[in-house]
């Protein structure tokens, strides 16, 4: 569904992403794990057009994403939940969700999506009139995911959904990711919490200073000694 080949991204002189290739098949959860600064977020940003890679290719379904204007990527069914949530703080919860459906011209589907978001995140419904800047970190994360769901995407790019959340909330968010996947959503998940991410994934890629050093079946990666030592705390 998504195929990234020989991707290279530079920040000025710094070669941040070195020749990365990865693939996500329809219906999968694939995680991209690695330490802080390994290039996980950069990879996602290059896929969704927030950054311009220097070379390589990003193919999503039949679309070449590197030649697609960034604001049109979501129209093809690929939604990105960015790192740090990036909700519109001065807008209400409901307005944020409306922005998620900005590209949609189908009012009825919007309504259905809204119900679906509220079913997954009842807390958002209670607070729909509230400015989203006043939400807690966990609620903002829910809103960021809900906002992406409003575009009826087929695939989600999730960047560090567990960042800064309490263990209980992390559990809740991961449960929702699994539910979304069971409903047919393909997911590329970027996480520092490698153990948690791999435990819900089909496959995984391990990123280290801009390079993919390991990849494979998520269950096998969880058992891999090098991975255990580096990312899973022994």
């Amino acid at each position: 569904m998504l195929r990234v080949e020989n991707l290279n991204v530079y920040y000025g002189m710094i070669h941040a992403i070195k020749d990365i290739s990865l693939e996500v098949k329809k219906g999968e959860i694939v995680s991209l794990v690695g330490a802080n600064g390994a290039g996980k977020t950069t990879t996602l940003q290059a896929i969704s057009g927030m950054l311009k890679p220097r070379s390589g290719s990003v193919q999503y379904l039949e679309h070449n994403l590197l030649t697609t204007p960034p604001h049109q990527i979501v129209k093809h069914g690929l939604a990105h939940v960015p790192e740090g949530r990036r909700v519109f703080a001065q807008m209400t919860v409901l307005e944020n969700l409306e922005m998620g459906a900005y590209i949609s011209k189908d009012k009825e589907r919007d309504k259905k999506n809204l119900d679906r978001v509220f079913a997954h995140f009842p807390r958002l419904e209670e607070r729909k009139k509230q400015l989203s800047g006043t939400l807690s970190g966990g609620e903002q994360q829910m809103l960021a995911i809900g906002r992406a769901m409003m575009a009826s995407p087929d695939m989600l790019l999730l960047d560090e959904p567990s960042m800064g959340l309490s263990p209980l909330l992390v559990k809740e968010i991961f449960k929702i990711i699994q539910e979304l996947n069971q409903d047919g959503m393909t997911i590329l998940l970027v996480e520092q919490n490698a153990k948690k991410a791999l435990s819900i994934s089909d496959r995984g890629y391990v990123l280290e200073t801009g390079k993919i050093v390991l990849s494979g079946n998520a269950a096998e990666l969880l058992e891999n000694d090098a991975v255990k030592k580096a990312y899973l705390g022994g």
Partner: protein
């Protein structure tokens, strides 16, 4: 009664500042830049209306509409040619370009229309409404100016808060990359903001020259700077702030002229701005952005 008359003139002048300030504040909110050429778009708007009504004998309303169309296009072209190539450039480069654009417009106007002042026709008429047995006379221009300002303000507040496009503008003003991820075309949103701001500048130009009928290529410069001050005063980026800032500035200016000194009035206006910024750096209605991590 004199006091009341000054107060009404102040509100009227302030309404013009508020309409101009809207252009500054909206462009700042969306594109995070100060478009110092905005004041000169006002001047272009006034000239267009002047020629349409004086040279071609158009009805004033048609003249205003034509000048809105021309200014809208001008705003979009200025953004495309001068500012769009600099979207990723440092803020200082954009600022200098904007100042350059301001002089470019002034000099072009001088070349096209010469620097000899034109006497602007009263688009609104010279009558006045008399109250208290004629003790208080309010010119029609004054009333029309205040009403137009209120209509524009309420229209914009509705547009920005209730319509899909207006909401997308707020989204862009908060976070461009996140807005882009929603499928919002950031560049066309910025273009649209310039278009709206410039159309309002055309209206402000006509109102300004109807109240103060001398039109020269530098007519827009000082009101432009003052409206910018009003925008900062009210809290730059905030639409209600532009209204409050504009009207307060107009009142301060007229009172300073009436009761203190005509020569010092501008200095007093800016002194008030400095005091407000010392006490409240974000302006009267400016938002302090707090982000949760």
């Amino acid at each position: 009664m004199i006091f009341l008359s000054h107060l009404i003139s102040g509100i009227s002048l302030g309404s013009i500042y508020a309409i101009i300030a809207l252009g500054y504040t909206m462009v700042y909110g969306i594109a995070k830049m100060l478009n110092f050429a905005h004041g000169d778009v006002i001047m272009v708007g006034a000239y267009i209306c002047f020629f349409a009504t004086m040279s071609y004998g158009w009805h004033p309303i048609m003249g205003v509409l034509l000048s809105m169309v021309v200014c809208t296009l001008l705003g979009i072209v200025i953004d495309r040619l001068a500012y769009k190539p600099l979207r990723q450039a440092p803020a200082l480069a954009v600022l200098i370009t904007a100042i350059g654009m301001s002089y470019f417009l002034q000099n072009s106007a001088q070349l096209l229309w010469t620097s000899s002042p034109k006497v602007f026709p009263s688009v609104i008429g010279n009558g006045s409404v008399k109250l208290f047995d004629g003790a208080l006379a309010i010119p029609h221009v004054t009333i029309v100016t205040i009403v137009v300002c209120l209509v524009i303000m309420s229209g914009l507040v509705f547009f920005v808060n209730k319509t899909r496009v207006g909401k997308s503008m707020r989204a862009v003003s908060e976070d461009k990359s996140a807005a882009q991820l929603m499928g919002i075309n950031v560049n066309s949103t910025i273009s649209m903001t310039f278009a709206i701001g410039s159309a309002l500048a055309a209206i402000a130009g006509v109102l300004l020259c109807s109240a103060y009928p001398t039109l020269t290529p530098t007519t827009g410069a000082m009101p432009g700077i003052k409206a910018f001050t009003a925008a900062v005063f009210g809290g730059i980026g905030s639409i209600p702030g532009a209204l409050v800032g504009g009207i307060l500035l107009g009142i301060v200016e007229i009172f300073a002229k009436a009761y203190i000194s005509t020569q010092l009035s501008d200095a007093i206006v800016f002194a008030v701005l400095i005091v407000v910024l010392i006490v409240k750096p974000t302006g009267l209605l400016g938002k302090k952005i707090s982000e949760k991590v």
